[in-house]
């Protein structure tokens, strides 16, 4: 008990001395140490984050959304009372999910277009189940206690590519074209702050605040951005997909808003995904 009081007094004295440092001309050594700590902090911070990331990933609430997605995928739903399991081809054949996510975006002959995972699921929900595209786009992102069905479905689909190599095809001319267009959109600067995607994601080893910014033009950077999505976001405690990630990047880029599951987003996901080809996808993850 005595010991505890001692510690408390010491702590109080310390915090008082910090307050003094902030207000008055300080003594040299203390200020120098403080400055040094401020400069050193980022690396230590990153190391500490990574140590506990494994702990967080081990029990990831994303699993709860995967379970919900499974239910939705298998159930007969929509005006047509059809299940996605019996109708939707994610690129590996109707109902086949193994490895589908790590090969998307890809070209689909039935629509003569390249589609990313979420866009393809949305397409199937409209075409086979009879849902309305406008309804899917009305409130497409998780917030509060609301999780769109498409988010759970995408998480479920992604879960079937756990520990598989990313192998996004670049054979069809439209697949190649989509990649190149994505590359251009990535570099396109506009808006009041003159930002493009590459303003933040075009250089190695940079951070916003304490968040590391992967350089998406390199394989190492691209996998870090591909990895972990769909992801359970600690901020707000909600599940998000890459569709949301792109949307929120454009918000921070001070752009107008991209349409939900639009070709522009597919192109950006192609660029990022193809750059990550050959790397192993860990499955739905956890994000800051």
């Amino acid at each position: 008990m005595k010991k505890r009081i001692g510690a408390l007094v010491a702590a109080a004295a310390m915090s008082a001395s910090f307050a003094v440092l902030a207000q008055q001309p300080a003594k040299k050594p203390a200020a120098k140490a403080q400055a040094k700590a401020a400069q050193k902090a980022p690396d230590a911070t990153t190391a500490d984050f990574e140590k506990f990331r494994d702990v967080l990933e081990e029990d990831n609430p994303a699993e709860l959304f995967e379970a919900k997605g499974e239910e939705l995928w298998k159930a007969k739903r929509g005006p047509n009372n059809v299940s996605l399991a019996e109708s939707c081809d994610m690129g590996r054949g109707v109902g086949v999910l193994k490895g589908a996510y790590v090969q998307l975006p890809r070209y689909f002959a039935d629509v003569d277009a390249v589609m990313d995972a979420e866009r393809r699921i949305a397409h199937c929900m409209v075409k086979y189940q009879g849902f309305k595209a406008e309804d899917l786009a009305k409130k497409p992102f998780s917030s509060g206690n609301y999780t769109p069905e498409l988010v759970s479905l995408t998480t479920y689909v992604a879960g079937h590519s756990r520990k598989m190599k990313i192998a996004i095809p670049q054979k069809h001319p439209k697949e190649k074209e989509t990649y190149q267009i994505g590359k251009e959109i990535f570099a396109y600067r506009a808006g009041p702050w003159d930002f493009s995607c590459s303003t933040c994601h075009g250089e190695d080893g940079k951070r916003i605040r304490t968040q590391n910014l992967p350089n998406l033009s390199t394989p190492e950077g691209a996998i870090r951005a591909f990895q972990g999505w769909p992801g359970y976001r600690m901020t707000g405690g909600v599940m998000h997909t890459l569709q949301w990630r792109m949307n929120d990047c454009f918000r921070q880029q001070r752009f107008p808003e991209p349409n939900y599951v639009s070709p522009s987003i597919t192109a950006l996901l192609s660029y990022m995904g193809v750059n990550a080809n050959g790397q192993v996808y860990k499955g739905p993850g956890i994000k800051r």
Partner: protein
């Protein structure tokens, strides 16, 4: 003002012609962006159009020919609004710190007329107390202490915050005054944060 605009436009047009060959995917990309983005809140549709300087940087991978860069940079510099009372100093570094901390402003979720932040810590180390700072830009810690407090530095800092493109045409840094993000008063507070000898940035 009018002349400047015309200058910019001509330069962009010239460049566009010169670099058209590499621009096939580029024009497809721009067409797609125009088709796929919708205005939301204060983020109006016109924001997706490249403005002159942006177009030049976009078309040259941020590396325009020196002759053009020099001219455009001068245009940017000439458009800087200097403090109306002629004084760079006199701002409040404490308010400056708050502005530097805030990442609010200009996004579609921000309200019209709300006070914007400078997002400075997103990219720069500034005060010694804030350990959560970005590294997209150089560290500004001990800015005045290292570079001095003279009027030339004051003017440089003011100009850099008002329009970073006036000293480095394709700089990654937003043009905080030019874009209407920060007010003259806010910029003065930020200058104080970096150059007031009593600001924690400079106090040893």
């Amino acid at each position: 003002m009018k002349t400047q605009k015309i200058t910019l436009f001509c330069a962009a047009a010239l460049l566009a012609a010169g670099f058209a060959r590499a621009g096939d995917y580029r024009s497809q990309a721009i067409a797609l962006i125009k088709q796929d983005f919708h205005p939301r809140g204060i983020a109006t549709a016109d924001r997706i159009h490249e403005e002159g300087l942006q177009a030049v940087c976009n078309r040259t991978s941020d590396n325009p020919p020196a002759a053009i860069a020099e001219r455009l940079q001068k245009d940017q510099f000439d458009a800087i609004k200097w403090p109306s009372d002629g004084k760079f100093m006199g701002g409040d570094w404490k308010k400056g710190e708050k502005i530097a901390q805030s990442g609010q402003g200009m996004a579609w979720n921000n309200k019209p007329g709300q006070e914007n932040g400078g997002s400075c810590y997103n990219c720069h180390q500034i005060g010694p107390k804030e350990t959560s700072f970005g590294t997209l830009g150089p560290s500004l810690y001990q800015f005045g202490k290292v570079r001095g407090y003279g009027e030339d530095i004051q003017k440089y800092v003011w100009g850099k915050i008002w329009n970073a493109k006036a000293t480095n045409l394709c700089s990654q840094m937003p043009r905080m005054g030019h874009s209407g993000t920060l007010t003259e008063k806010q910029i003065k507070d930020l200058v104080a944060l970096l150059l007031d000898p009593n600001s924690p940035v400079n106090k040893e």
